[in-house]
Symmetry: C2
Subunit: 436 residues, 2 copies
């Protein structure tokens, strides 16, 4: 039986999962594949810690180059994460004619153009199913099965940490800071959770989904991204009253004029939508194609085992080609990098959507007239209003749901409203998606 | 730009969708693929009706052999459906070295072994993404991305007609016969709906899912299959009271002893499960793998456009290989037919699950004691009981939810209970799945 030789860069959580999967299911993989996958070397700076899986000490090395430059190795799996040295290593692997599997969304979101072009030139493949949605096979589905479609939109719940925090805020009424602290203690959130809770990780993943759906090399800096740290349980309760859940949503849309939207922010979605029920550590992606209509995929978005499943799926795909003496079969974003379009991303100020607005004001007649007057001046019309809690305290909340309005107008109106002396706190907005 | 030449067998609804997709999105497909797909001939017995798409009359033929035996044609798409002449045509295409795309679940469920073996011998591929779940890419996901996993279970809502009928019975309280008649008038159900409503179509699809998940050539006759025609709105209401929805569910499980379950029947699933919300024309599949955990996919299960999306996805996959001068890349059920196992399907009598039992009895003291006594004699213990409606009429319903019990025992108990003179109607059972 033929053998495919694999080198692994990065022996952290996911790397350990990959080793475990190859060990536990090795016979099954060989049967399905008609060849054997042999992990010949693992590089990590730490080659002494016990990861709970048995590996022959002889295959561990702290020298990544000994993998990248080994002519025997067919496939390199990059699980180091971050920009450098991952970028240098991946480019070196490509230069040496190796097939590459990576789970590194940050790297591909920022350096995808360089990496995919290098791979196309060299005739090798860079697969990255594990970079988006953990075990959910959305990347391959977009690249292969659904590739007959012109995509209209893609929506994703893509960060497990945020979704866990929002789920607990929703179902237990707790505040953000409390849940985050507990999640950090339990190991569900990083010690420095900035990338997760501020939406950066989700934006990295959206960059890849938008690239695949719309055939474009998106400039990562053009993605508007906001996190969940300023959400309050009060907003979640109001959302519930109006029939919505709040999710950190990655949103990609393509308009008929050829511009696209690419944005990440807390979003209110109707409770009865399937995405609204995606809770805890689960991720989900929903795409709408012109022929297939809506397709949703749902699964564990992170974790050692689910991510290892995606990495090994990619490894098997590459091995399937190699065992038949065949080289690259697909390109990074689904077509040759030369075919990718430069599509203009709509500036956030030009986005049109519905809004939830929460004002904190003194409890006095005329307040609503003042606020609605300013909204009206900015072409923002009100769909519904609620002022549910009448406290003894001086400050009371007023919540307004708008019809469709332009972000620029909403921001200008809020700025003006926040200068009124009846307003006690900076006003909050949450964008609404009623048409997923 | 290189061209891949395609022949289409069957110019019905899905065939028309495929022609429309190739026309509307042809440029996009060529960009993504780096080659052109050219539909060179369409065979159908009816070559004169207007399908609403423009095709050059010169490519229409009533002679399928002129496609199958044309050495110029690279890929044959079979959309005739049914066993013959589809089987003969597909085998002929394989014999002539053509790649094949088919949406024909009936054919593959019964003759898959013969067809996939012939393809393996000839070194061509037979892809069938459109055969299960319409636009949902579950076949490829199982064969490729998730193939690192040992699968434990697969559950599917796979028949749009049944799901539409059950959704209307659930949400509008209507009876089966009424909804079916309306669905037939509206064109959502066939004039002869037997294959759909009696679960045969779902069982065909389950045979393919079980084959892929567990690496086996399942004997179609071993799949226990029941339809939805005996369900009443009363059962749906009782299910709702207990926190359940009723779906026609395809169930595949693998046990540690190497036996599998493969069964199709109306099934009560907890309302809060994602599958419970899959309504109307939507299909969904949920698989659980040892590494990936649960993955669910959801989309339109049928219809011209969604199914065409799946057919063209397969066509693109084959073209991707052909354009690189490469032959077959995968085998029908995910591994070489010689590697498939013969796994024993548990007889229905040996299946263990929970049950909903509905008895119709006279309204008289001692009735429950008689029924529960017989259940107890058959090792069936009661989890809860309800006797909610007290009519003036002589016959009243008694509903019992059981703990786990063996089908054989339940059938024996019901047979005995139905002979009691206090029982007024044949008793009903619905199986429950609490652990998807």
């Amino acid at each position: 039986m033929k053998e495919i030789k694999v080198g692994l860069l990065g022996f952290g959580t996911i790397g350990t999962g990959v080793v475990k999967l190859l060990q536990n299911n090795g016979e099954l993989l060989a049967e399905r594949l008609g060849c054997r996958l042999r992990l010949v070397r693992i590089a990590d700076l730490d080659i002494s810690s016990d990861r709970g899986v048995r590996v022959d000490a002889g295959i561990l090395t702290s020298d990544a180059m000994s993998i990248l430059d080994d002519p025997e190795i067919d496939v390199v799996i990059e699980l180091i994460g971050g920009y450098e040295p991952a970028r240098t290593f991946v480019l070196r692997a490509i230069e040496n004619g190796k097939q590459v599997v990576t789970a590194n969304k940050a790297l591909l979101a920022l350096h995808g153009r360089e990496i995919f072009s290098a791979a196309a030139e060299k005739g090798v493949e860079v697969l990255f199913e594990a970079a988006v949605g953990g075990g959910i096979p959305i990347i391959t589905s977009l690249k292969e099965n659904l590739c007959g479609n012109r995509f209209r939109s893609v929506f994703g719940i893509l960060n497990g940490t945020c979704n866990y925090i929002l789920s607990r805020m929703t179902h237990e009424g707790e505040e953000f800071a409390t849940v985050l602290a507990e999640a950090q203690q339990a190991g569900y959130a990083e010690a420095d959770p900035t990338f997760d809770i501020e939406g950066v990780d989700t934006a990295h993943k959206l960059a890849l989904l938008v690239g695949l759906c719309f055939g474009t090399n998106i400039d990562f800096a053009a993605i508007h991204s906001e996190g969940i740290s300023s959400l309050t349980s009060q907003d979640i309760r109001f959302a519930d009253q109006f029939g919505y859940r709040i999710k950190l949503l990655a949103i990609g849309k393509r308009h008929d004029d050829g511009t696209i939207e690419a944005r990440v922010h807390p979003t209110m979605i109707p409770k009865h939508y399937p995405l609204a029920d995606v809770d805890g550590a689960y991720n989900a992606v929903r795409v709408v194609g012109d022929f297939v209509g809506p397709v949703m995929q749902y699964g564990l978005g992170a974790g050692m085992d689910a991510t290892a499943s995606a990495v090994v799926g990619d490894l098997m795909a590459l091995a399937r080609n190699l065992v038949r003496g065949q080289g690259a079969r697909t390109h990074g974003l689904g077509c040759h990098p030369g075919q990718l379009r430069e599509l203009q991303v709509r500036p956030m100020a030009d986005v049109v959507t519905q809004y939830y607005l929460r004002f904190t004001t003194v409890d006095r007649p005329g307040v609503l007239a003042a606020i609605s007057g300013i909204l009206g001046q900015h072409q923002i019309s009100i769909a519904s209003m609620v002022q549910p809690e009448r406290h003894e305290a001086e400050a009371v909340p007023i919540v307004i749901m708008t019809h469709e309005a332009r972000e620029r107008d909403v921001q200008a109106a809020l700025q003006q409203i926040d200068q009124l002396d009846i307003v006690r706190e900076k006003s909050h907005l949450i964008r609404i998606e009623n048409q997923l």
